[in-house]
């Protein structure tokens, strides 16, 4: 799943193979971007159709199709438009509104309404943070051919640890307290991921089931802590973290963008650097691609697998930590609407590459952000998002479907060598 950044040299093509290789490169890269885009687009279209055909008005209109065919189509189109327009507004805000407020601010310096106009897109960016971090975590796992389905549980553990350090440790200045809280989250989640990792490396126990089990254990642990030792007040929730542990917002309220956003972007860069610019990253990717050659090159496959898993878990834990320290400021059972599972779809969509993950997480954040408004304005339940995500997974995992739909020709998959795969004898 590595990204082959192609830089064709100026050497003259010496035989037909070189020419074909260049074609592959060009088409390969363009298809790397095109396929996921088409996958998302197709998923949105199907989602739209589901929205339309679960809308009572549209259904009624189609009941009268033969009397008024145009009306049925119009109703369908209208419903879809209304829903997605509402989603757009929920994710980005109202452009008209924005420019209006911008004008007011320029004239009068009053920024309050401008900020309100920016809030939706701000929220989208805020919600992209847990997606991004969890997506990076899962992507690191994928690069090493490990399926970290435990992102959700690791997320919770990270958030719990950070919340605890956030409210229980007093008297520290912000430049120690906040990093400490973040670090606590990463370490706690890392340990949480170490267990399935070592079980896989030493016993060969499949990490899929083990991480899922760890998820459930994490949920129960959270139940216990929030109803017991960490409880504050009458509802199951932790005390609020101290201001010194919080991640500050950048703009005045109600815009919620906080420094965690940049931390997340920074970590995306770090992950990129780790995977492609360090020897360890090379080993990790080697183990994930061809563990026999890796072993042959002298790499300790087991060790690499465990470390990769711990890193993956730590990143997912950070998704929980940073979101908690930057937005919620306290731990509640309803903390995550499934960031961990979405992260799996994210990582697939982003082809397990940090750039892809960042873009995919922005997309998912927009969907997630826009959905409540869609529910309010158009009556479409927010769960349509999950359906769209599921469809995205299906389309990304089986690109032949998309290729078939849009009549794209398949690239010469570089994985096939020109050699005969059968021996002559």
């Amino acid at each position: 799943m590595s990204n082959s950044s192609a830089k064709p040299t100026k050497e003259k093509a010496q035989d037909s193979r070189n020419f074909l290789q260049r074609i592959f490169v060009r088409r390969g890269t363009s298809q790397t971007i095109l396929l996921p885009l088409l996958a998302v687009f197709t998923a949105l279209v199907l989602g739209g159709l589901i929205i339309a055909f679960t809308n009572t008005d549209t259904l009624a209109a189609w009941g009268h199709f033969f009397q008024n065919p145009w009306g049925a189509l119009k109703s369908t189109g209208l419903v879809i438009y209304k829903a997605y327009a509402a989603m757009f507004e929920g994710a980005f805000g109202n452009p008209k509104d924005f420019f209006q407020q911008l004008g007011i601010w320029i004239k009068t310096g009053d920024d309050k309404l401008l900020l309100s106009a920016i809030r939706p897109i701000g929220d989208s960016l805020v919600f992209s943070v847990p997606y991004m971090l969890a997506g990076l975590g899962v992507a690191v796992g994928f690069q090493c051919n490990m399926f970290n389905i435990g992102a959700e549980g690791q997320l919770y553990i990270g958030a719990l640890a950070s919340a605890y350090v956030g409210y229980a440790v007093h008297g520290l200045p912000w430049y120690i307290h906040a990093p400490l809280a973040i670090l606590a989250g990463a370490i706690a989640a890392g340990i949480w991921g170490f267990i399935p990792g070592i079980l896989k490396a030493r016993f060969g126990a499949h990490e899929v089931i083990n991480t899922i089990m760890m998820n459930y254990i994490a949920y129960r642990l959270m139940d216990y802590l929030l109803n017991g030792p960490m409880k504050s007040g009458y509802v199951p929730a932790s005390p609020q973290v101290l201001p010194t542990a919080m991640l500050a917002t950048i703009f005045p309220s109600p815009v919620r963008i906080h420094w965690g956003f940049f931390i997340a972007l920074g970590l995306a860069v770090v992950v990129y650097w780790l995977l492609w610019k360090t020897p360890f990253g090379m080993e990790l990717r080697m183990v994930g691609t061809n563990d026999r050659a890796a072993r042959y090159a002298g790499i300790s496959v087991k060790k690499t697998m465990v470390v990769a898993f711990v890193i993956s878990a730590a990143l997912c834990g950070l998704a929980g930590s940073i979101h908690l320290l930057g937005v919620d400021h306290r731990m509640m059972p309803s903390f995550s609407p499934g960031y961990g599972f979405d992260a799996i779809a994210l990582a697939l969509l982003g082809n397990s590459h940090p750039v892809g993950v960042v873009l995919a997480s922005l997309l998912f954040a927009f969907l997630h952000s826009g959905a409540p408004r869609m529910q309010v304005m158009a009556g479409t339940p927010v769960e349509i998002i999950r359906i769209i995500q599921g469809l995205v997974i299906v389309f990304v995992a089986a690109p032949e479907i998309i290729r078939g739909l849009y009549h794209l020709r398949s690239t010469r998959s570089g994985k096939k060598s020109a050699e005969p795969s059968v021996s002559k004898s």
Binding site: A6, R17, Q21, R22, T278, M282, A293, A297, S423
Partner: protein
């Protein structure tokens, strides 16, 4: 009476390889026909066509004089053709009975398996043909020789009249091979016709009625044991065509670089694959190990490169004991390896060529500085190597999978040769390559030798061994039968040794 089987003009092309080239073959009823040839001669392909696993590009098949169309194994089975593959097609966890009846199960009402009936029939076949087997035994618990009997019973159960055996004694001990020949005689006595693919000369002479020799996809000739000797057959198999002679100066061997003492190595099945091998390779010489694949060479090389552990024996590199050391440590001690399976062990195909060119040195300076990979250095080194070794690619950033086989091998060679090495172990370095690449790789190996490196060359290709080696060792059944200077070795002599026949005494492989 027409022959029971006739193949006319069978041709089969794979990308880049003409496996079968207008092959004509006849099998008479009740006879044992041997198809003889070296690795890569096209024998298995031909039989797979007969069994319906491949379809021929040209040619026709006639059974008892009528033309037939064999599209899949079911057709072949229906026509009475049964094949015992070189790699058994058995289900380890099933019993003998279950394996035999799979696909043609006897059932009682409602699809319930009638194991007893099949068991009974197995007993009948067993006694009729002398194939002792316990129908209730699980296949995975059986020895290889008995597993083969199961495969034969499978074929007889389906009432095959034409039985094809692909290298049947390749995996048998000499005693098991004896049993096998008894069975074949019994089969023929009861009216079956047998085709028997092999490269083992002595067996072929002993058991067959007629012998057809293949070489490079073509039929070289058909003869009978009465008209042949091992020498004449070896001649036909290996041929007198022009071999690519490598221009090389005489060797100037120096100190002992690789010292292997009484090495014993087990294979994956916990059987002894390397049975007490000792050898030495000196600086500036090429020691070639000739031998048919499957006589322990793979395990020997794996032991020498740290991929396989062993309990008995010692391996020293320039005096340093590397027995059981990790691959990385052995490499750092100055050893280089060109692996047998370049795509599986030597390269990470989806990775860019530049990464593959530093696959085992990326962690050393200057490719790594501190925590970082130094991309600049890697690219520089990659460009250099691409140029030096003439690797044809428009870009070093493309995945290694886009390279041709020859160029992939060049990547591995470039990588291994780009640092000072004292020992080079090359396993089948030119497998599947075109003539030009072969020439190039050979040249590189000789160059290394002239620079003072010790070279251990392992190859089933006799031509290659003979043209490159200064000394030649022949490996058979896990042992080194002989080591001779290249000047003293003849093709025929080596061929005999490779088949386990020594001049002086009969080896325990009593044929």
């Amino acid at each position: 009476m027409p022959p029971i089987l006739e193949l006319r003009g069978i041709s089969k092309n794979f990308p880049g390889v003409l496996a079968n080239d207008h092959i004509d073959l006849t099998l008479n009823e009740g006879e044992i026909l041997a198809i003889l040839g070296e690795n890569g001669a096209g024998k298995t392909t031909l039989m797979n066509i007969l069994y319906g696993l491949y379809s021929p590009d040209a040619g026709e098949i006639f059974i008892r004089g009528s033309k037939v169309n064999i599209r899949n194994p079911r057709d072949a089975i229906r026509l009475g053709i049964g094949m015992v593959h070189q790699h058994f097609m058995l289900i380890p966890v099933f019993t003998v009975t279950e394996n035999v009846m799979l696909g043609v199960e006897s059932t009682k009402a409602g699809g319930i398996l009638d194991r007893k009936a099949v068991s009974k029939q197995i007993h009948e076949i067993s006694s009729r043909f002398g194939l002792q087997v316990d129908p209730e035994a699980r296949v995975e618990d059986l020895s290889v020789g008995v597993q083969q009997r199961v495969e034969i019973i499978k074929v007889l159960y389906r009432q095959a009249d034409i039985l094809v055996f692909d290298e049947p004694t390749a995996v048998l001990t000499p005693q098991e091979a004896e049993e096998f020949f008894k069975v074949v005689h019994s089969l023929v006595k009861q009216g079956k016709s047998v085709i028997f693919i092999s490269h083992k000369l002595k067996e072929v002479l002993e058991i067959s009625d007629r012998i057809t020799v293949l070489r490079n996809g073509k039929v070289v000739g058909t003869t009978t044991p009465a008209q042949s000797t091992e020498a004449s057959l070896a001649n036909m198999m290996v041929g007198r065509e022009v071999i690519l002679t490598v221009d090389k100066k005489p060797a100037k061997p120096g100190e002992v670089v690789l010292d292997v003492v009484s090495l014993q190595v087990m294979d994956d099945r916990h059987l002894m694959a390397v049975k007490d091998v000792s050898l030495q390779v000196r600086a500036g010489e090429i020691l070639g190990i000739a031998g048919v694949q499957g006589n322990g060479q793979k395990e020997l090389v794996e032991a020498l490169t740290g991929l396989r552990s062993f309990d008995t024996g010692k391996v020293e590199l320039l005096g340093e004991d590397i027995s059981g050391a990790s691959p990385r440590k052995i490499r750092e001690a100055g050893s280089a390896h060109v692996p047998e399976d370049r795509q599986r062990d030597g390269l990470v195909l989806p990775f860019p060529i530049k990464d593959n060119l530093v696959l085992n040195t990326y962690y050393e300076t200057p490719f790594t500085r501190g925590l970082n990979l130094n991309d600049g250095e890697i690219e520089k080194a990659a460009q250099k190597r691409v140029k030096e070794y003439d690797i044809r690619t428009p870009s070093i950033f493309l995945p290694a999978a886009t390279l041709s086989g020859g160029n992939q091998q060049k990547v591995i060679v470039a990588r291994e040769f780009s640092r000072p090495i004292k020992l080079l172990i090359a396993s089948q370095p030119t497998r599947g390559l075109d003539v030009g690449s072969i020439e190039y790789i050979h040249g590189q190996i000789v160059k290394k030798r002239d620079e003072g490196c010790a070279v251990l060359l392992v190859s089933p290709e006799l031509d290659e061994i003979m043209s490159l080696s200064d000394r030649i060792a022949v490996m058979f059944d896990g042992r080194i039968l002989a080591i001779l200077p290249a000047g003293e070795a003849t093709r025929e002599g080596l061929g005999l040794l490779m088949a386990g026949i020594t001049q002086t005494a009969q080896p325990e492989a009593a044929h």
